[in-house]
Symmetry: C2
C-alpha cells in the first residue's frame, strides 16, 4: 500500500532540493518526482511556486530558530561557552555532514531573491531579525557576566556577526573547505566577543 | 545601418542580467534579445552557457581587481584612509546607484554555484584569493605604519573582512537598505582594523 503523501513531505522534498540548488533551479516536477506524486498534485497544496518557496523558508527558519533558542538561550553553560559550542557544532556539520555545501537557506534565498522579490524580502528580513535578536540576547548575558567588555555595543555586534557568518558560509562554497568558518571563529572570539 | 555586435557586448548584456537575477534565472534568449541578435548567434561566440557564465565572472572580477588596485594600492592616502574611502564609496554606490540590489557577482555566483559546479568554484576561489591578497597588502602597509596594532594577524583579518563584507551585502538584499553595510563599516574600523 502506498504511503499517503502529506503537505509536509512535499515541503521537505522541496527544502532539500532548494537548499542545494536554489529556488530558481528547482522545478516543481523535480519536487513531485522526489515524493512520487503527479506534478498536478502539487497545486492541491500550494497555489504557486512562490507560496511553496515561502513555506520552505518558513520550515527552515523555524527549525533554525528552535536550534538557536536551545543552544544560545536555554543552556546552563556561560554565554560565551554556549556561543563557542554552537559555532563549533555548526562547523562540524559543514565539514562532515554537508561537506562544504548548502550554507544557510536564509542566506541563499537572500542572495538569490532578497533584492528582486518583495515577498521573499519581507519574510527573510523577519527571519534575520528574529535570529539576530537571539544572538543579541546571548551577547547581553555575556556582557552582564563580564565575558564581553562593557564598552561593546551588542546590537551592532549581533548584526555584524550574524552577517559575517553568512559571508563565511558563502566563501566556504567557493573555497571548498571550512577554512572560512574557522577564520570566522578565530576573529569573532579573539577580537569581537571579548 | 545596424551596429555590429561584438562578443563583449553579449558578455556585458549577460553580466547585467546575471548580476541582478542570477545565473540559472537568466536565459540565453533574454541575453540575445537584449543586444538584438538571434539566439543562435550566441553559440558563434560561446560553446555553452557555462563557458559564457565564466566569461561574465571574469569580466566582473577583472573590473573589481582594477578598482581594488586603484583604491587600495596605488594611492598616496594612508592605508586606513584608503580603506575607509573605498568602503564609503561602495556604500554610496549601493545606496544611490544599485538601490540595495545586486551585491557582488563573485558572492552571488559563490552562493548559487560555488558548491555545485567545480568549474565555477575554481574560478571563484581564484578571484577571491586575488582580491583578499590586495586587502592583506593594504592591511600590512597599515600595520607597518602603526595604523593597525602590530599584534594583529593581517592574513586572517583579510579573509574575515572580505567574507564579512559579502555577508553584509547579502543581508542588504533582504534588509532593503544599507544599514548592514554601515554596521560593517562601524565594527570593521572600530574593532578589527585598529
Amino acid at each position: 500500500m502506498k504511503r499517503k503523501i502529506f503537505k509536509e513531505d512535499i515541503i521537505k522534498a522541496g527544502y532539500e532540493l532548494m537548499y542545494l540548488n536554489g529556488y530558481n533551479a528547482t522545478g516543481i516536477k523535480e519536487i513531485t518526482d522526489r515524493v512520487n506524486i503527479p506534478k498536478g498534485s502539487f497545486y492541491n497544496h500550494f497555489a504557486t511556486k512562490q507560496e511553496f518557496g515561502l513555506e520552505v523558508l518558513n520550515y527552515y527558519s523555524e527549525m533554525g530558530k528552535q536550534a538557536l533558542i536551545e543552544g544560545l538561550i536555554n543552556s546552563k553553560l556561560s554565554p560565551i561557552t554556549r556561543l563557542k559550542k554552537f559555532y563549533k557544532s555548526q562547523i562540524e556539520y559543514f565539514e562532515h555532514v554537508s561537506e562544504n555545501k548548502l550554507g544557510c537557506l536564509m542566506g541563499n534565498f537572500s542572495q538569490e531573491l532578497g533584492d528582486t522579490n518583495t515577498d521573499f524580502q519581507k519574510a527573510l528580513n523577519e527571519d534575520f531579525i528574529n535570529s539576530t535578536a537571539i544572538f543579541k540576547s546571548c551577547f547581553d548575558e555575556a556582557k552582564a557576566m563580564g565575558e564581553i567588555d562593557e564598552s561593546k555595543d551588542t546590537t551592532i555586534l549581533a548584526e555584524y556577526i550574524t552577517n559575517a557568518w553568512q559571508g563565511a558560509l558563502l566563501r566556504m562554497k567557493s573555497n571548498g573547505n571550512i577554512k572560512p568558518l574557522e577564520d570566522f571563529y578565530t576573529i569573532t572570539f579573539r577580537l569581537l566577543l571579548n
